[in-house]
């Protein structure tokens, strides 16, 4: 029997904990924001790295994606960094999120071209902070442009309800499924690893 056929190895391979040769070495010294979900953090080598663009695909709004914001917002809070909210689905509640010192800017009611332009401006100018974007389906060109312009420690999170499998220039792509309060995370794309499917988590309130 081929050693790779061993059930334990197969499980590790499926979970992305074991890679074949020539794999990319994950930069462990890169600063990362915890996702709030332990299994997801483990697969992502500690969380979502700063200075990158990440996509989160959702079956609907408020399905558990807010937990992803906790660590980046706390980091911005500590460092008084700017936080940009592009077309948020509801009003961020500063008391609920525990925000006091981070500098917040909301951009509401933006059309597609306005949003693309505004995010490009932010990405070009700032090197620290958090940018959260809600958009049905971003064009590939905009994603590529932002990823290229990103510099420093600016974290970009794109939330979308469109389950898109087309190739995009995101650093990592996550897909969330929610059934009866049970979360299931799929990591569609991540650096240095294959996709990982079905990371189960219990959806907790904020």
């Amino acid at each position: 029997m081929n050693s790779l056929q061993h059930p334990a190895l197969q499980t590790m391979l499926q979970r992305g904990q074991l890679f074949r040769g020539q794999q990319h070495i994950v930069e462990t010294n890169q600063q990362r924001a915890s996702t709030g979900y332990p299994q997801l953090d483990q697969v992502l080598a500690g969380g979502l790295p700063y200075g990158q663009l990440h996509e989160v695909q959702l079956p609907g709004l408020f399905c558990g994606e807010t937990a992803l914001l906790r660590a980046p917002l706390q980091s911005a809070e500590r460092a008084n960094h700017p936080v940009f909210w592009f077309n948020p689905p509801a009003q961020p509640h500063v008391s609920g999120m525990g925000l006091s010192h981070a500098r917040h800017t909301l951009l509401q009611g933006l059309e597609d071209d306005e949003l693309t332009w505004a995010v490009s401006q932010v990405v070009s100018e700032l090197s620290t902070g958090v940018v959260c974007i809600w958009h049905p389906n971003l064009p590939a060109q905009a994603v590529r442009q932002w990823q290229r312009r990103l510099h420093g420690e600016l974290l970009l999170l794109v939330f979308t309800c469109h389950m898109n499998n087309e190739a995009r220039a995101y650093h990592s792509r996550l897909r969330l499924q929610l059934e009866q309060g049970q979360l299931s995370w799929d990591v569609l794309k991540r650096p240095g690893g294959w996709p990982v499917y079905g990371l189960g988590e219990r959806l907790q309130a904020w």
């Binding site: 509640h93 500063v94 008391s95 006091s100």
Partner: protein, 469 residues
């Protein structure tokens, strides 16, 4: 020991052909150009190319045409020349506090008496004036009193009797009839006038001549109109040709914004809004308001915002004049960054927000801050973009849980939700007009999402007020 030369009390700048130099930019230097007076059709200003052809000032325009085949003529515009002189005065105001305008002779008086500490010798004054009048032809005279300075009599270097020999009476600001009578009497130069006893002058020529002599001798002050810069910035430039697009307006707008920057820097002010007025040939105006989220002082920052605004603006008609009006100023605040080096982020964020607000509108780019309030929706309010919410002004009890998202309350069917935990009662005070009692609870919908519901006893209904997942 060399004693430094003290600066003279008065200086006078006479600009000979300010209007001609203003319109000369439309022509090449080789092109003969004259400015003529409409009433007498006489040449009042001529450029070097026209002078080389034999044209002289005060010559009839018809004679000038005979001398130059390709002569270009422009009608004299006194209002524009006065505006140009006022612009020069404002520019000089950065270095000289006491300036009086002499629009009739296109000149400026500078009172230098109080500037001994700033300028040790006349050379420094000359250099300073030169920096503001680059490219302009002018005559600068130092004198002991304003009238001598105006007439070009430098009575500080030579005795008055000597310098006044070359000054003709016809150049004095006396009435024409008086000048003719003086010439009939054989008094054609100022030195002759000054030799005539004052009493005789008074009897024969009246008070104006006596006053002039007293002013020349420094015995009487000259009434001057001191420059008092306006509290607002308002400048207009005429375009060399009609502009039909933003690209053609860029240069003029940049020039105006640089003038604005100098204005702000001189007064240590910053600006949060200004207005660009575009005027077309028929006199129609198109206004472009520029609103800034954060005060700025730099022309480049203003221009970046203007560019954003102009890209979204369609010109209604070809533009002839561009005007910049600024009225609302703020005192420039010193920013201390401590011992840490200033990062690009600290300077880039205000400029970025200005740009976003300019393009998207103030109503769509904003922040949040906490405010005193009993109910969750009244515990925060919109604030300028990039505001920190702050920690004060919150009436929420310590340890009270709140969801991360708030929505406008909407009625829900409680049968579709599963309640969890203990209720939390929030009640607005009785003295408020619409006092409410709400019992909040966390609940899960059929997907398993966490919502924040409240039960309104008065209506016996459940509302969804926030999300927590």
């Amino acid at each position: 020991m060399v004693v430094p030369a003290s600066i003279p009390p008065w200086a006078y700048i006479r600009c000979f052909q300010l209007y001609l130099e203003y319109i000369q930019r439309r022509y090449s230097d080789e092109q003969p150009v004259v400015v003529y007076e409409v009433t007498g059709l006489r040449v009042v200003q001529a450029n070097q190319a026209a002078i080389d052809c034999g044209v002289e000032v005060a010559m009839p325009l018809s004679d000038a045409w005979l001398l130059c085949d390709n002569l270009q003529t422009e009608q004299y515009d006194e209002a524009t020349e006065r505006q140009l002189l006022a612009d020069i005065a404002l520019a000089l105001y950065a270095d000289f506090a006491e300036i009086a305008q002499d629009p009739e002779h296109c000149g400026l008086w500078l009172r230098l008496q109080g500037l001994q500490r700033l300028y040790q010798d006349p050379g420094q004054v000359k250099h300073c004036i030169q920096t503001h009048l680059i490219g302009a032809s002018y005559q600068l005279t130092f004198a002991s009193n304003p009238r001598c300075a105006q007439l070009g009599l430098d009575d500080l270097q030579q005795p008055m009797a000597d310098v006044s020999q070359h000054c003709l009476v016809i150049n004095t600001p006396l009435e024409e009839t008086v000048k003719v009578r003086l010439l009939h009497m054989g008094v054609d130069t100022l030195d002759k006038l000054l030799k005539v006893p004052t009493t005789a002058l008074g009897k024969k020529f009246g008070a104006p001549v006596v006053r002039l002599v007293a002013e020349l001798r420094g015995q009487q002050t000259v009434p001057l109109q001191w420059l008092q810069p306006a509290d607002n910035f308002n400048h207009r430039v005429e375009l060399a040709a009609e502009a039909r697009s933003w690209a053609a307006l860029r240069f003029s707008c940049k020039r105006l914004l640089q003038m604005l920057q100098r204005y702000l820097q001189t007064r240590q002010l910053a600006l949060t809004r200004f207005l660009i007025v575009l005027t077309c040939r028929q006199g129609q105006h198109q206004q472009i308001p520029i609103q800034l989220a954060y005060p700025q002082t730099q022309a480049d920052d203003f221009f970046a915002l203007l560019q954003v605004a102009m890209e979204a603006t369609k010109l209604r008609a070809p533009v002839m004049y561009v005007q910049l009006e600024a009225q609302h100023f703020e005192q420039l605040q010193a920013t201390s960054y401590g011992f840490e080096p200033v990062t690009g982020e600290q300077t880039a964020l205000p400029a970025l927000l200005n740009r976003l607000q300019m393009k998207l509108g103030e109503a769509r780019v904003y922040g949040y801050r906490r405010k005193p309030g009993w109910m969750p929706e009244s515990q925060q309010e919109p604030a300028p973009a990039a505001s920190a919410p702050g920690t004060t002004g919150n009436l929420q009890a310590a340890g009270d849980w709140r969801p991360p998202w708030l929505v406008i309350p909407e009625v829900v069917d409680i049968n579709e939700w599963q309640l969890h935990g203990q209720p939390q009662r929030l009640q607005s005070p009785w003295w408020q007009p619409r006092s409410e009692q709400r019992d909040y609870m966390l609940a899960r919908d059929h997907h398993g999402r966490w919502g924040w519901l409240y039960f309104l006893a008065a209506e016996q209904r459940w509302y969804l007020h926030g999300w927590a997942s």
